[in-house]
């Protein structure tokens, strides 16, 4: 009798094990970026994490678009 009860309990336990509901998708947070984090542009080997150096390089480069600065007053 005891074996039968234990056996039935085991069958019920095994049978119900398939009924458990596990979350299968990521937890979605409305309005929050869900993707991978991105590195800062100044974290590259060229700038070694120095934001000021990167900003200086970018701003110098931006000034190259100003031909008045490149050619001087005679270019006006």
């Amino acid at each position: 009798m005891r074996t039968l009860v234990v056996g039935l309990a085991a069958i019920v336990a095994l049978g119900l094990a398939g009924c458990g509901e596990q979350p299968q998708v990521v937890q979605y947070k409305q309005g929050k970026y869900q993707g991978k984090p991105d590195a800062k542009p100044w974290d590259s080997p060229e700038f070694g994490g120095k934001q000021a150096d990167w900003e200086r390089a970018i701003n110098t480069r931006a000034q190259h678009q100003n031909e008045y600065a490149r050619t001087g007053p005679s270019g006006r």
């Binding site: 947070k29 409305q30 309005g31 929050k32 970026y33 869900q34 993707g35 991978k36 984090p37 991105d38 590195a39 800062k40 542009p41 100044w42 974290d43 590259s44 060229e46 700038f47 934001q51 990167w54 900003e55 390089a57 970018i58 701003n59 480069r61 931006a62 000034q63 190259h64 678009q65 100003n66 031909e67 008045y68 006006r76």
Partner: protein
């Protein structure tokens, strides 16, 4: 640090499509996708104007607001980027964008849409900077090299300016003053013409 911006000077753009070519070549953008294009207003009519248009990296970007999977993010420099691994290619961002910036490559038969592709301000994406993965998904990360977007740097007439908003605004202001024009180069009248102007399409039908 101000925000990264594009500014196209319609007085200078000669519709050469050099920016489009530079973008396609630098980022190896797939066939059928144009991250940047040149739009001409009043084409063929004296006084026509062209501007180069791509993602404007809006301060309050509508694509970010409508994305159902929140795959967009904005960097500290104000560049709007997205994670292609999350994108489901639904196309909501395309409908929301006033500039038509989001593009969708054909991913299969019957016009099946792939993951969204758009201008990254040459800042890559959320993969390791300048890795093969980043290049194949998003193109070159020129910002991490200390360079500006290829389209702006390649522009032959320097009509398309890119970089820190404060700096390119200063460059444009200097140009405007050098041209000898005043306040009329800014604002509604310049963008849309003076009030009462006849539309150029008023031509006899053949």
């Amino acid at each position: 640090m101000a925000r990264m911006k594009f500014l196209c000077d319609a007085e200078r753009c000669i519709e050469c499509n050099g920016c489009v070519t530079a973008c396609k070549n630098t980022n190896e953008v797939p066939w059928g996708v144009n991250r940047r294009r040149v739009v001409t207003m009043n084409d063929g009519v004296p006084g026509e104007r062209s501007i180069s248009v791509a993602c404007m990296h809006c301060s309050d970007a509508p694509c970010m607001a409508v994305c159902p999977v929140d795959c967009f993010y904005k960097t500290e420099e104000g560049v709007v980027l997205h994670d292609k691994d999350l994108c489901i290619g639904c196309g909501y961002c395309f409908y929301a964008c006033p500039f038509g910036a989001p593009q969708f490559p054909q991913a299969g038969a019957f016009g099946l849409r792939g993951k969204m592709d758009k201008c990254t301000f040459c800042a890559g994406g959320p993969e390791k900077d300048n890795s093969a993965d980043e290049f194949s998904k998003y193109g070159e990360n020129r910002l991490a090299m200390g360079k500006l977007p290829a389209c702006a740097e390649m522009c032959s007439t320097k009509a398309l300016l890119g970089g820190d908003g404060d700096i390119i605004a200063d460059i444009y202001r200097q140009r405007v003053l050098t041209r000898g024009k005043g306040s009329e180069v800014w604002g509604w009248g310049t963008a849309y013409g003076p009030g009462g102007q006849k539309p150029p399409a008023a031509q006899p039908k053949s």
